[in-house]
């Protein structure tokens, strides 16, 4: 029973919840808490999968063993022991697969960023950023308006001189504040963990929704921090100019939607909803604690009595 319930929970969290949650607009009012909720959902799904793997063999041997009480005492033990070892092995494989994926993703991105940082440092047009006081800004020569950051121990914020020509001073400051927030809050670590999880999950069970939703939420967190520094108007202006300057293909609808959501927040900034933030954090905690208390602890109680330890 425990295995069934945990399995249902895990499937609900990984297949049913992500779609509607990614489309919902209420997380826009508490983006940081919503990121926490996505992390709790992902972690709870992993824990459910582990729970199924550990509980199912034990429950099956117990169910079949109880049918023949005489034999259970003698012949049940080796079967139960084999089931336990098998379950532990599968659980270990799941955990290992996740860790290997995380290690691979962070190693590859680190190498790539390292190389990228070396090149932007060499290509930097230092004379064009004299009045920008941040030491980690680099300017690339090119008409294409670009603004991005390269995270890492020696992080960089990169602007093209096309972007510098397009934006006024206030807007440049807003863009820099936005990028520096990504760097200061280590948003790349959050994205890397979701990427690693996505890559480790079998194709039938995974969804892109968490990746895209968390990415958008992190942009909103950075928007809010930049808005606090410069007011929302310059950032909104910068977003508008940067987007309008590039002739966009019409087919990219989801990106357009996320841009609209960010613009709407910047157009009518609401004070962050404390009640909503509290409720979302509480939901995230409950998602991790409740299944453990309601399902796992009673099962563990029974299982420990039977396990051949």
């Amino acid at each position: 029973m425990t295995a069934l319930l945990l399995g249902a929970l895990g499937l609900t969290l990984s297949l049913i919840v992500p779609g509607p949650l990614a489309r919902a607009h209420w997380p826009d009012r508490a983006p940081a808490a919503a990121v926490l909720l996505w992390q709790a959902i992902t972690l709870a799904a992993v824990l459910s999968a582990l729970g199924v793997v550990l509980a199912a063999p034990e429950e099956l041997t117990r169910a079949f063993g109880s049918g023949k009480p005489v034999a259970a005492e003698g012949s049940g033990k080796p079967v139960a022991a084999a089931a336990l070892i098998g379950a532990l092995a599968v659980a270990a494989v799941i955990v290992l697969r996740l860790l290997v994926s995380l290690w691979g993703v962070s190693r590859r991105s680190r190498a790539r960023r390292e190389r990228h940082r070396l090149l932007v440092d060499l290509l930097d047009r230092a004379e064009q950023r004299q009045e920008l006081d941040a030491g980690n800004v680099r300017v690339l020569q090119g008409n294409l308006p670009l603004a991005y950051c390269v995270p890492g121990r020696e992080a960089r914020v990169v602007l093209s001189d096309g972007a510098l020509r397009l934006l006024d001073r206030e807007q440049v400051d807003a863009v820099l504040a936005h990028e520096q927030t990504h760097l200061r809050h280590r948003h790349e670590v959050v994205m890397e963990s979701f990427t690693a999880f996505y890559r480790a999950v079998p194709a039938a069970l995974r969804s892109r929704a968490p990746l895209d939703a968390v990415h958008l939420l992190l942009e909103m967190v950075a928007d809010d921090a930049a808005g606090k520094r410069t007011g929302p108007a310059p950032l909104r202006g910068a977003l508008e100019r940067l987007t309008d300057a590039v002739p966009l293909a019409e087919e990219v609808v989801p990106e357009q939607d996320s841009r609209r959501r960010r613009m709407a927040r910047l157009a009518s900034p609401q004070s962050p909803s404390r009640a909503l933030t509290g409720a979302v954090v509480a939901a995230a905690v409950a998602l991790l604690v409740l299944p453990t208390v309601i399902l796992v602890v009673p099962w563990l109680d029974q299982a420990l009595a039977v396990w051949p330890l």
Binding site: G142, L248, E255
Partner: protein
């Protein structure tokens, strides 16, 4: 002068000439055009470092070595921008966060169009 600035200045000299240069030529150019009075060995060390990072090519010319950038400044800039724009989150961790919610595919297309105009 910090090592990073030194590397950048020397790259600028090499990019402006674009033809292979000896250490002595780079050294003279730095002194004459950029008023950098550096030790000859410093210039040599930095050129060596740049070659190790494979942004500069070392060419044997008789008994001396000459140095040339592996790509022109414009080519390398375009490559860096492409690198920043590629890499969707599901393939691997995105390299960078963009300020605009500019779809990377669209930006890539725009960049390629600009490249072809040249």
């Amino acid at each position: 002068m910090a090592l990073g600035d030194l590397e950048r200045e020397i790259m600028t000299v090499l990019w402006e000439r674009y033809l292979p240069m000896t250490v002595r030529e780079v050294h003279q150019e730095l002194a004459r055009e950029r008023h950098r009075d550096l030790a000859y060995t410093t210039v040599m060390t930095v050129l060596d470092r740049l070659a190790k990072k494979s942004v500069v090519r070392q060419i044997k010319d008789g008994r001396a070595y000459k140095y040339a950038p592996v790509q022109s400044r414009a080519e390398m800039t375009a490559a860096v921008m492409m690198d920043a724009l590629s890499g969707t989150p599901d393939q691997d961790a995105a390299l960078a966060h963009f300020v605009g919610a500019l779809p990377p595919e669209a930006l890539r297309a725009a960049l390629e169009a600009i490249q072809q105009e040249r």
